[in-house]
Amino acid sequence: MSSLARTRSVACVVAWRGIHNAFTSPALLLPSVLFPLFFFIAFAGGLSGVQNAPNFDFPSGYSSFQFAFVCVQASAFGGVFTGFSIASDFEFGFARRLLLAAPHRGGIVIGYMLSAMARAVFVLSVVLLAGLVSGMRVDGSPGDMLALLALALATSATATLWAAGIAMRLRTMQAGPVMQMPVFIALFLAPVYVPLDLIAGWVHDVARYNPFTALLESARGFVSGEPTKIAITSACLVGMFALTALWARGGLRSAERAG
């Protein structure tokens, strides 16, 4: 069996286990569905008046504006929740047995990543359904929506690699806030409530250089049928993916050394 086939075999098994666990355990699945739904309801419902502010220009409406944010947020947090599962696997000893059994350990990380992406597809479907039921406008074409899905999946993969790097280094569930807080802060230092131009103060300066800003603006472009900043977003995603992949690889080496 070639190295690639061994990696694929390990990745498929780990992914299947992750998907099976997620979809058969409501305690795992519910938070990753309820949190994005809740954010969507709270922001699109409670803050919709913000769209009447001067210079707020998003013709598809505030629900669509927030839907794009929730897509990115749900994908990123899905990755973080997968990090919790990895940490839990280490706490209960399963991950160590997995490290011993796997012929190619890189496949373990890929498997976790695939399971996070599968969960993201499910969560995004639920949020989209909720949005459509509540009357959200989607002006993007099916192609735009597929591009949005690709963006969300890439975000999910990147966040999983970030969380996996931490989970495999610290190997305890207590590392949860360390995985979650940087992602939360990075997300909220992007244009969450209003377009970038309307953000005031230092957050505007931070948001200008925050890669999540490009992701959010692209996502909103896909929802409104006016794709924008594709090149910058792609570059950001490739860069973030490469960095977090290296980070996760370091984590895997750390876990291997720990035995």
């Binding site: 949190f35 709270a42 419902g45 409670g46 913000v50």
Partner: protein, 265 residues
């Protein structure tokens, strides 16, 4: 703390001993202090910039979103105090400390009041800090110095009300996981209120209705009125009344839950 010390003192001494223990436990866990204080401040900074455009809307009650949003950290601080207080009590139940206390002559009222000491301490510390940070960032308290003091009193009352709820959950469920499980509910209550946007400017009718029936809206509006309006008797009366009702209800229910738990053991 010994059984003899608990036995020899009156109710106030017993409360003091237990409250002192609860406060020391909070102080010895920096994570219980830093995160509950820092997180609301980070969110305040982000929201103040992100939602500043909303202040340009006709009818928005303040010129700066920071003034409008300063009430929110007080609420979030109260939620974290409730969560941590509840978890500490749940740990006492799981570790058998409550059972050992039950063998001493301590009264139920002293036990409940003492357990709330840590949460109350966090409520006071975080409220003072949020007020100082707000003032440092240029927020003016429309009700003046006396208003700032009332703001602190109201914030502590709200913290106390939430802490009583955290205690009730801990006594009923007896596990830290159950208390953690209620945390999202606290946040749902906060986000589905008028914490981030004035009720009369909320466009979605269903959200406005939920915010109107959500008691958290009135707590936030009471705190906010002192910052942006001045002395608003109605807003303050609602906020204090709801906090007081919550304290009484949750204390009565907690007292029953404690009796049931001690009978069970």
């Amino acid at each position: 703390m010994t059984a003899a010390a608990l036995a020899s003192g009156g109710t106030f001494d017993q409360v003091g001993l237990l409250a002192g223990r609860a406060v020391r436990r909070v102080i010895r866990q920096p994570a219980q202090i830093v995160f509950p204080i820092a997180f609301p401040l980070v969110l305040l900074a982000v929201n103040a910039s992100g939602l500043d455009a909303a202040t340009k809307l006709p009818g928005f009650p303040s010129a700066d979103y920071l003034d409008f949003a300063l009430a929110v950290p007080f609420m979030q601080g109260a939620l974290f105090a409730a969560l941590n207080g509840g978890q500490d009590l749940a740990r006492d139940i799981q570790g058998g400390f409550l059972d050992r206390l039950a063998l001493t002559p301590i009264s139920g009222a002293a036990l409940l009041a003492g357990q709330l000491g840590g949460a109350l301490f966090m409520g006071v510390v975080s409220a003072v800090l949020y007020l100082l940070v707000g003032l440092a960032l240029g927020v003016g308290i429309a009700a003046g110095v006396a208003g700032a003091l009332v703001l602190l009193v109201l914030a502590v009352c709200i913290s106390f009300a939430f802490a009583c709820f955290g205690m009730l959950v801990a006594l009923r469920a007896g596990t830290g996981e159950a208390v953690q499980g209620f945390f999202p509910l606290f946040f749902v209550l906060l986000f589905l209120s008028s914490a981030f946007f004035p009720r009369d400017l909320i466009e979605q009718d269903w959200f406005a209705a939920v915010a109107t029936y959500n008691p958290v809206s009135y707590m936030v509006e009471g705190l906010r009125s002192l910052v942006i309006t001045g002395w608003d008797g109605e807003a303050l009366a609602y906020a204090f009344a709801i906090s007081a009702i919550a304290v009484v209800c949750f204390l009565v229910l907690s007292s029953r839950a404690l009796r049931t738990r001690l009978t069970r053991t």
